[in-house]
Symmetry: none
Subunit: 208 residues, 2 copies
DNA sequence: CTGGTATGAATGAATG
DNA sequence: CATTCATTCATACCAG
Protein backbone atom coordinates (compact mmCIF):
# COMPACT_ATOMS: atom_id res chain seq x y z
CA UNK A 1 0.00 0.00 0.00
CA UNK A 2 2.77 2.35 0.54
CA UNK A 3 3.39 2.23 -3.07
CA UNK A 4 4.14 5.82 -2.88
CA UNK A 5 6.91 7.42 -1.04
CA UNK A 6 9.25 4.62 -1.43
CA UNK A 7 9.70 1.35 0.15
CA UNK A 8 9.47 0.43 3.63
CA UNK A 9 12.81 -0.09 5.05
CA UNK A 10 15.46 1.41 2.95
CA UNK A 11 17.86 -0.68 4.72
CA UNK A 12 21.09 -1.64 3.37
CA UNK A 13 22.14 -4.46 1.28
CA UNK A 14 20.70 -4.22 -2.11
CA UNK A 15 19.19 -1.35 -3.88
CA UNK A 16 15.57 -0.97 -3.29
CA UNK A 17 14.13 1.33 -5.87
CA UNK A 18 11.47 3.74 -4.81
CA UNK A 19 8.19 3.91 -6.56
CA UNK A 20 9.30 6.97 -8.41
CA UNK A 21 12.44 5.39 -9.57
CA UNK A 22 10.61 2.39 -10.80
CA UNK A 23 8.19 4.59 -12.55
CA UNK A 24 10.86 6.39 -14.45
CA UNK A 25 12.64 3.23 -15.33
CA UNK A 26 9.47 1.66 -16.47
CA UNK A 27 8.60 4.59 -18.60
CA UNK A 28 11.92 4.45 -20.26
CA UNK A 29 11.56 0.81 -20.82
CA UNK A 30 8.20 1.16 -22.30
CA UNK A 31 9.46 3.88 -24.49
CA UNK A 32 11.64 1.33 -26.05
CA UNK A 33 14.79 1.71 -24.12
CA UNK A 34 16.20 -1.63 -23.33
CA UNK A 35 19.89 -1.47 -23.26
CA UNK A 36 20.90 1.99 -22.32
CA UNK A 37 24.32 3.14 -23.19
CA UNK A 38 26.83 4.15 -20.66
CA UNK A 39 25.88 7.72 -20.94
CA UNK A 40 22.26 6.98 -20.68
CA UNK A 41 22.81 4.93 -17.65
CA UNK A 42 24.67 7.73 -16.09
CA UNK A 43 22.04 10.23 -16.82
CA UNK A 44 19.28 8.04 -15.74
CA UNK A 45 20.91 7.23 -12.49
CA UNK A 46 21.61 10.84 -11.93
CA UNK A 47 18.03 11.60 -12.46
CA UNK A 48 16.92 8.81 -10.25
CA UNK A 49 19.20 9.90 -7.51
CA UNK A 50 16.75 12.68 -6.91
CA UNK A 51 14.43 10.13 -5.49
CA UNK A 52 16.90 8.24 -3.50
CA UNK A 53 20.25 6.73 -3.72
CA UNK A 54 21.05 4.67 -6.66
CA UNK A 55 24.11 3.66 -8.51
CA UNK A 56 24.69 3.29 -12.16
CA UNK A 57 25.03 -0.36 -11.74
CA UNK A 58 21.56 -0.53 -10.37
CA UNK A 59 20.19 1.02 -13.47
CA UNK A 60 22.23 -1.28 -15.55
CA UNK A 61 20.95 -4.30 -13.75
CA UNK A 62 17.46 -3.07 -13.79
CA UNK A 63 17.35 -2.93 -17.51
CA UNK A 64 19.05 -6.18 -17.89
CA UNK A 65 16.67 -7.92 -15.61
CA UNK A 66 13.65 -6.22 -16.91
CA UNK A 67 14.45 -7.09 -20.42
CA UNK A 68 15.34 -10.62 -19.65
CA UNK A 69 12.27 -11.18 -17.60
CA UNK A 70 9.94 -9.79 -20.07
CA UNK A 71 11.24 -12.16 -22.60
CA UNK A 72 10.76 -15.14 -20.43
CA UNK A 73 7.57 -13.76 -19.27
CA UNK A 74 7.97 -15.47 -16.03
CA UNK A 75 6.65 -18.49 -17.71
CA UNK A 76 9.66 -20.52 -17.07
CA UNK A 77 8.86 -21.13 -13.52
CA UNK A 78 10.83 -24.33 -13.65
CA UNK A 79 11.23 -26.13 -10.44
CA UNK A 80 7.61 -26.44 -9.88
CA UNK A 81 8.82 -28.04 -6.84
CA UNK A 82 6.43 -30.86 -7.01
CA UNK A 83 8.80 -32.71 -4.89
CA UNK A 84 6.03 -35.05 -4.49
CA UNK A 85 7.14 -38.35 -3.20
CA UNK A 86 10.59 -38.24 -1.98
CA UNK A 87 11.12 -41.67 -3.21
CA UNK A 88 10.95 -41.70 -6.91
CA UNK A 89 11.76 -38.74 -9.00
CA UNK A 90 15.24 -39.57 -8.31
CA UNK A 91 16.52 -37.69 -11.23
CA UNK A 92 15.12 -34.45 -12.21
CA UNK A 93 16.20 -33.60 -15.57
CA UNK A 94 13.24 -32.90 -17.70
CA UNK A 95 15.42 -31.54 -20.28
CA UNK A 96 18.91 -30.85 -19.50
CA UNK A 97 19.13 -34.40 -18.51
CA UNK A 98 22.58 -35.66 -18.16
CA UNK A 99 23.43 -32.09 -17.81
CA UNK A 100 26.81 -31.41 -19.11
CA UNK A 101 28.03 -34.69 -20.25
CA UNK A 102 26.27 -34.69 -23.49
CA UNK A 103 26.83 -31.09 -23.82
CA UNK A 104 28.41 -31.42 -27.11
CA UNK A 105 31.68 -32.68 -26.21
CA UNK A 106 32.75 -29.87 -28.28
CA UNK A 107 36.35 -29.40 -28.18
CA UNK A 108 37.38 -26.26 -26.50
CA UNK A 109 36.84 -23.13 -28.43
CA UNK A 110 40.25 -23.55 -29.68
CA UNK A 111 39.01 -24.33 -33.06
CA UNK A 112 37.77 -20.92 -33.66
CA UNK A 113 38.59 -17.98 -31.61
CA UNK A 114 41.67 -19.28 -30.16
CA UNK A 115 43.00 -20.25 -33.44
CA UNK A 116 42.85 -16.65 -34.28
CA UNK A 117 43.47 -14.49 -31.34
CA UNK A 118 45.85 -15.21 -28.64
CA UNK A 119 46.98 -18.33 -30.15
CA UNK A 120 50.01 -16.63 -31.33
CA UNK A 121 53.41 -17.35 -30.29
CA UNK A 122 53.49 -18.07 -26.68
CA UNK A 123 56.60 -16.22 -26.04
CA UNK A 124 55.40 -12.92 -27.18
CA UNK A 125 52.12 -12.88 -25.58
CA UNK A 126 51.65 -9.99 -23.33
CA UNK A 127 49.03 -9.20 -20.88
CA UNK A 128 48.29 -6.17 -18.94
CA UNK A 129 47.35 -6.16 -15.41
CA UNK A 130 45.49 -3.23 -14.21
CA UNK A 131 46.80 -2.21 -10.91
CA UNK A 132 44.82 -4.70 -9.12
CA UNK A 133 41.90 -6.78 -9.61
CA UNK A 134 39.13 -6.92 -7.25
CA UNK A 135 39.59 -10.53 -7.00
CA UNK A 136 37.26 -10.55 -4.12
CA UNK A 137 38.23 -13.43 -2.10
CA UNK A 138 35.19 -14.73 -3.67
CA UNK A 139 33.46 -17.54 -2.10
CA UNK A 140 33.07 -15.71 1.04
CA UNK A 141 32.19 -18.91 2.56
CA UNK A 142 34.35 -20.31 5.10
CA UNK A 143 37.40 -21.73 3.80
CA UNK A 144 39.30 -24.22 5.75
CA UNK A 145 41.92 -21.62 5.87
CA UNK A 146 44.33 -23.80 4.25
CA UNK A 147 46.52 -20.83 4.44
CA UNK A 148 48.04 -22.11 1.36
CA UNK A 149 49.15 -18.79 0.25
CA UNK A 150 51.10 -20.30 -2.45
CA UNK A 151 48.62 -22.66 -3.75
CA UNK A 152 49.63 -26.04 -2.94
CA UNK A 153 46.42 -26.72 -4.54
CA UNK A 154 48.05 -27.93 -7.58
CA UNK A 155 48.97 -31.46 -7.27
CA UNK A 156 52.32 -30.47 -8.36
CA UNK A 157 54.23 -27.62 -7.09
CA UNK A 158 53.05 -25.85 -10.10
CA UNK A 159 51.14 -23.02 -8.70
CA UNK A 160 53.64 -21.08 -6.83
CA UNK A 161 56.10 -21.58 -9.52
CA UNK A 162 53.75 -19.87 -11.73
CA UNK A 163 53.40 -16.95 -9.50
CA UNK A 164 57.04 -16.58 -9.14
CA UNK A 165 57.50 -16.74 -12.77
CA UNK A 166 54.80 -14.32 -13.38
CA UNK A 167 56.50 -11.88 -11.17
CA UNK A 168 59.75 -12.45 -12.78
CA UNK A 169 58.44 -11.79 -16.17
CA UNK A 170 56.45 -8.88 -15.29
CA UNK A 171 57.56 -5.39 -15.40
CA UNK A 172 55.88 -2.14 -15.47
CA UNK A 173 55.17 -0.23 -18.50
CA UNK A 174 53.67 3.11 -19.03
CA UNK A 175 53.72 4.46 -15.59
CA UNK A 176 50.62 6.41 -16.21
CA UNK A 177 47.69 6.26 -13.98
CA UNK A 178 47.00 2.98 -15.39
CA UNK A 179 49.90 1.31 -13.91
CA UNK A 180 49.90 -1.72 -15.95
CA UNK A 181 52.11 -4.56 -15.65
CA UNK A 182 53.18 -6.01 -18.83
CA UNK A 183 53.93 -9.52 -18.77
CA UNK A 184 55.82 -10.57 -21.70
CA UNK A 185 56.98 -13.98 -21.49
CA UNK A 186 60.58 -13.72 -21.52
CA UNK A 187 62.51 -13.90 -18.41
CA UNK A 188 63.39 -10.52 -17.21
CA UNK A 189 65.67 -11.86 -14.63
CA UNK A 190 67.74 -14.14 -16.66
CA UNK A 191 67.03 -12.31 -19.78
CA UNK A 192 66.69 -15.40 -21.72
CA UNK A 193 65.22 -18.73 -21.92
CA UNK A 194 61.63 -17.87 -22.27
CA UNK A 195 59.77 -20.60 -20.56
CA UNK A 196 57.45 -21.35 -23.30
CA UNK A 197 54.81 -19.21 -21.80
CA UNK A 198 53.55 -18.58 -18.45
CA UNK A 199 53.80 -22.21 -18.46
CA UNK A 200 51.87 -23.34 -15.58
CA UNK A 201 55.01 -24.48 -14.28
CA UNK A 202 56.99 -27.37 -14.92
CA UNK A 203 54.32 -29.79 -15.20
CA UNK A 204 54.17 -29.35 -18.83
CA UNK A 205 56.66 -32.05 -18.59
CA UNK A 206 53.92 -34.23 -17.47
CA UNK A 207 51.34 -33.45 -19.91
CA UNK A 208 53.05 -32.57 -23.00
CA UNK B 1 26.98 -27.85 7.09
CA UNK B 2 27.63 -25.42 4.52
CA UNK B 3 30.12 -27.76 3.17
CA UNK B 4 28.46 -27.17 -0.06
CA UNK B 5 28.00 -23.61 0.74
CA UNK B 6 27.06 -21.12 -1.83
CA UNK B 7 26.28 -23.02 -4.86
CA UNK B 8 23.18 -24.77 -4.11
CA UNK B 9 21.57 -26.06 -7.14
CA UNK B 10 24.54 -28.00 -8.15
CA UNK B 11 22.68 -29.49 -10.98
CA UNK B 12 23.10 -26.97 -13.52
CA UNK B 13 24.12 -27.34 -17.00
CA UNK B 14 26.60 -24.68 -16.64
CA UNK B 15 29.84 -24.88 -14.91
CA UNK B 16 29.75 -23.98 -11.33
CA UNK B 17 33.25 -23.47 -10.12
CA UNK B 18 34.15 -24.67 -6.71
CA UNK B 19 35.86 -22.48 -4.22
CA UNK B 20 39.15 -24.10 -4.92
CA UNK B 21 38.83 -23.63 -8.59
CA UNK B 22 37.97 -20.04 -8.19
CA UNK B 23 40.89 -19.57 -5.96
CA UNK B 24 43.29 -21.00 -8.42
CA UNK B 25 41.88 -19.01 -11.24
CA UNK B 26 42.02 -15.92 -9.19
CA UNK B 27 45.57 -16.51 -8.27
CA UNK B 28 46.49 -16.97 -11.83
CA UNK B 29 44.72 -13.83 -12.69
CA UNK B 30 46.50 -11.98 -10.04
CA UNK B 31 49.73 -13.37 -11.18
CA UNK B 32 49.11 -11.58 -14.37
CA UNK B 33 47.48 -14.12 -16.50
CA UNK B 34 44.76 -12.51 -18.44
CA UNK B 35 44.51 -14.18 -21.72
CA UNK B 36 45.78 -17.68 -21.40
CA UNK B 37 46.84 -19.45 -24.48
CA UNK B 38 45.31 -22.61 -25.62
CA UNK B 39 47.93 -24.63 -23.97
CA UNK B 40 47.66 -22.75 -20.77
CA UNK B 41 43.97 -23.17 -20.76
CA UNK B 42 44.50 -26.78 -21.32
CA UNK B 43 46.77 -27.15 -18.38
CA UNK B 44 44.78 -25.00 -16.12
CA UNK B 45 41.66 -26.92 -16.75
CA UNK B 46 43.47 -30.11 -16.30
CA UNK B 47 44.53 -29.08 -12.91
CA UNK B 48 41.29 -27.58 -11.98
CA UNK B 49 39.64 -30.81 -12.77
CA UNK B 50 41.20 -32.09 -9.62
CA UNK B 51 38.70 -30.02 -7.71
CA UNK B 52 35.74 -30.80 -9.79
CA UNK B 53 34.69 -31.08 -13.30
CA UNK B 54 35.60 -28.34 -15.61
CA UNK B 55 36.18 -27.92 -19.26
CA UNK B 56 38.67 -25.85 -21.09
CA UNK B 57 35.99 -23.64 -22.34
CA UNK B 58 35.05 -22.79 -18.82
CA UNK B 59 38.52 -21.60 -18.12
CA UNK B 60 38.53 -19.70 -21.31
CA UNK B 61 35.34 -17.94 -20.48
CA UNK B 62 36.34 -17.34 -16.96
CA UNK B 63 39.31 -15.33 -17.98
CA UNK B 64 37.41 -13.47 -20.55
CA UNK B 65 34.70 -12.50 -18.18
CA UNK B 66 36.98 -11.76 -15.36
CA UNK B 67 39.06 -9.50 -17.41
CA UNK B 68 36.16 -7.77 -18.99
CA UNK B 69 34.47 -7.22 -15.72
CA UNK B 70 37.52 -6.00 -14.09
CA UNK B 71 37.31 -3.07 -16.33
CA UNK B 72 34.18 -1.62 -15.11
CA UNK B 73 34.91 -3.16 -11.87
CA UNK B 74 31.74 -4.64 -10.94
CA UNK B 75 31.94 -3.64 -7.47
CA UNK B 76 31.10 -6.46 -5.30
CA UNK B 77 29.46 -5.60 -2.14
CA UNK B 78 29.45 -8.54 0.01
CA UNK B 79 26.69 -9.16 2.31
CA UNK B 80 26.18 -6.45 4.70
CA UNK B 81 23.35 -8.53 5.72
CA UNK B 82 22.56 -7.27 9.11
CA UNK B 83 19.38 -6.06 7.60
CA UNK B 84 17.42 -8.18 9.85
CA UNK B 85 13.89 -8.39 8.66
CA UNK B 86 11.13 -7.57 10.99
CA UNK B 87 13.14 -5.95 13.70
CA UNK B 88 11.41 -2.72 12.83
CA UNK B 89 13.99 -0.99 14.84
CA UNK B 90 14.20 1.83 12.51
CA UNK B 91 17.33 0.65 10.98
CA UNK B 92 19.63 3.31 9.84
CA UNK B 93 22.08 1.85 7.53
CA UNK B 94 23.12 -0.37 10.32
CA UNK B 95 26.61 0.77 10.48
CA UNK B 96 28.39 -0.92 7.73
CA UNK B 97 28.87 1.82 5.28
CA UNK B 98 29.66 -0.62 2.62
CA UNK B 99 26.05 -0.53 1.92
CA UNK B 100 26.48 2.79 0.32
CA UNK B 101 29.48 2.70 -1.85
CA UNK B 102 28.43 5.05 -4.49
CA UNK B 103 31.77 6.42 -5.19
CA UNK B 104 32.32 5.78 -8.72
CA UNK B 105 34.70 7.40 -10.95
CA UNK B 106 33.31 7.62 -14.32
CA UNK B 107 35.73 7.71 -17.05
CA UNK B 108 35.37 9.78 -20.09
CA UNK B 109 32.36 8.33 -21.68
CA UNK B 110 33.33 9.75 -24.94
CA UNK B 111 36.44 7.78 -25.20
CA UNK B 112 34.63 5.32 -27.20
CA UNK B 113 33.26 5.09 -30.56
CA UNK B 114 29.88 5.20 -29.07
CA UNK B 115 30.23 8.89 -29.26
CA UNK B 116 29.42 8.70 -32.84
CA UNK B 117 26.18 8.52 -34.63
CA UNK B 118 23.20 8.31 -32.46
CA UNK B 119 21.33 6.25 -34.83
CA UNK B 120 23.63 3.42 -34.44
CA UNK B 121 23.08 0.34 -32.55
CA UNK B 122 23.30 0.61 -28.89
CA UNK B 123 26.77 0.68 -27.63
CA UNK B 124 26.11 -0.25 -24.19
CA UNK B 125 27.44 -0.57 -20.81
CA UNK B 126 30.91 -0.17 -19.77
CA UNK B 127 30.22 1.94 -16.86
CA UNK B 128 33.76 2.09 -15.86
CA UNK B 129 32.81 2.60 -12.38
CA UNK B 130 35.71 2.41 -10.19
CA UNK B 131 34.80 1.93 -6.69
CA UNK B 132 36.85 1.78 -3.67
CA UNK B 133 36.33 -1.36 -1.92
CA UNK B 134 38.07 -2.95 0.87
CA UNK B 135 39.25 -5.69 -1.32
CA UNK B 136 40.76 -3.26 -3.64
CA UNK B 137 43.07 -1.81 -1.19
CA UNK B 138 43.57 -5.19 0.17
CA UNK B 139 44.79 -6.45 -3.08
CA UNK B 140 46.74 -3.50 -4.08
CA UNK B 141 50.09 -4.92 -3.81
CA UNK B 142 52.31 -2.64 -5.66
CA UNK B 143 51.91 0.80 -4.58
CA UNK B 144 50.33 1.87 -1.35
CA UNK B 145 46.90 2.44 -2.53
CA UNK B 146 46.93 5.95 -3.55
CA UNK B 147 43.53 6.89 -2.44
CA UNK B 148 41.51 6.53 -5.42
CA UNK B 149 39.85 9.72 -6.11
CA UNK B 150 36.38 9.20 -5.01
CA UNK B 151 34.43 11.57 -6.97
CA UNK B 152 31.38 12.54 -5.19
CA UNK B 153 28.20 10.96 -6.12
CA UNK B 154 27.29 13.13 -8.93
CA UNK B 155 27.94 16.68 -9.76
CA UNK B 156 24.39 16.80 -8.86
CA UNK B 157 22.25 18.85 -11.03
CA UNK B 158 24.59 18.10 -13.78
CA UNK B 159 21.47 16.63 -14.98
CA UNK B 160 20.57 19.81 -16.63
CA UNK B 161 22.63 19.19 -19.59
CA UNK B 162 21.21 15.86 -19.48
CA UNK B 163 18.30 16.74 -21.55
CA UNK B 164 20.52 18.00 -24.22
CA UNK B 165 21.30 14.50 -24.93
CA UNK B 166 17.80 13.75 -25.78
CA UNK B 167 18.88 12.93 -29.20
CA UNK B 168 21.10 10.33 -27.80
CA UNK B 169 18.14 8.55 -26.63
CA UNK B 170 16.87 8.38 -30.03
CA UNK B 171 18.03 5.27 -31.53
CA UNK B 172 16.86 1.97 -31.15
CA UNK B 173 15.55 0.82 -34.30
CA UNK B 174 15.88 -2.66 -33.37
CA UNK B 175 12.87 -4.09 -34.99
CA UNK B 176 10.32 -5.57 -32.79
CA UNK B 177 8.04 -4.01 -30.37
CA UNK B 178 8.91 -0.51 -29.88
CA UNK B 179 6.12 1.57 -28.76
CA UNK B 180 7.77 4.84 -28.54
CA UNK B 181 5.68 7.50 -27.18
CA UNK B 182 5.83 10.43 -25.02
CA UNK B 183 7.24 10.06 -21.69
CA UNK B 184 6.77 12.56 -19.05
CA UNK B 185 9.22 12.85 -16.32
CA UNK B 186 7.54 14.89 -13.83
CA UNK B 187 8.19 14.06 -10.32
CA UNK B 188 5.00 12.70 -9.15
CA UNK B 189 6.39 12.45 -5.72
CA UNK B 190 8.21 15.63 -5.23
CA UNK B 191 6.08 17.39 -7.70
CA UNK B 192 8.89 19.73 -7.93
CA UNK B 193 10.16 21.76 -10.70
CA UNK B 194 11.22 20.93 -14.09
CA UNK B 195 11.09 17.28 -14.37
CA UNK B 196 14.57 16.99 -15.45
CA UNK B 197 13.58 16.25 -18.89
CA UNK B 198 15.08 13.03 -19.55
CA UNK B 199 12.32 12.99 -21.89
CA UNK B 200 13.16 11.11 -24.86
CA UNK B 201 9.84 12.24 -25.92
CA UNK B 202 9.77 13.49 -29.36
CA UNK B 203 12.37 11.14 -30.39
CA UNK B 204 9.91 9.44 -32.50
CA UNK B 205 10.96 11.77 -35.14
CA UNK B 206 14.23 10.06 -35.11
CA UNK B 207 13.11 6.63 -35.56
CA UNK B 208 9.70 6.61 -36.96
C1' DC C 1 7.20 -17.63 11.77
C1' DT C 2 7.22 -19.68 7.21
C1' DG C 3 6.79 -20.14 2.46
C1' DG C 4 6.12 -18.02 -2.01
C1' DT C 5 7.02 -14.57 -5.18
C1' DA C 6 9.19 -10.45 -7.26
C1' DT C 7 13.38 -8.78 -8.30
C1' DG C 8 18.29 -7.07 -7.39
C1' DA C 9 22.88 -8.91 -8.22
C1' DA C 10 26.29 -11.98 -10.09
C1' DT C 11 28.33 -14.52 -13.50
C1' DG C 12 28.65 -18.30 -16.97
C1' DA C 13 28.08 -18.56 -21.92
C1' DA C 14 27.99 -16.81 -26.12
C1' DT C 15 28.18 -13.67 -30.42
C1' DG C 16 30.04 -10.18 -33.72
C1' DC D 1 37.70 -7.56 -26.98
C1' DA D 2 33.12 -5.27 -26.33
C1' DT D 3 28.36 -6.46 -25.53
C1' DT D 4 24.53 -9.05 -24.68
C1' DC D 5 21.78 -13.13 -23.30
C1' DA D 6 20.63 -16.68 -19.98
C1' DT D 7 20.64 -18.64 -15.39
C1' DT D 8 21.20 -18.70 -11.02
C1' DC D 9 21.69 -16.94 -6.29
C1' DA D 10 20.19 -13.89 -2.68
C1' DT D 11 16.84 -10.82 -0.68
C1' DA D 12 12.87 -7.88 0.35
C1' DC D 13 8.27 -8.33 1.28
C1' DC D 14 3.82 -9.95 1.66
C1' DA D 15 0.41 -13.43 2.53
C1' DG D 16 -1.27 -17.06 5.40
Amino acid sequence: MEALSGRVGVKCGRWNPTAEQVKVLTELFRAGLRTPSTEQIQRISTHLSAFGKVESRNVFYWFQNHKARERHHHKKRRRVASCSPDSSSNEEESGRAAAEPADLVLQPPESKREARGYNHHPRIMTCYVREVTEQEEATTWERPTREVETLELFPLKAAYDLELEADRFSRYVRGGEQQCREISFFDVATGRDPPLELRLCSFDRYLV
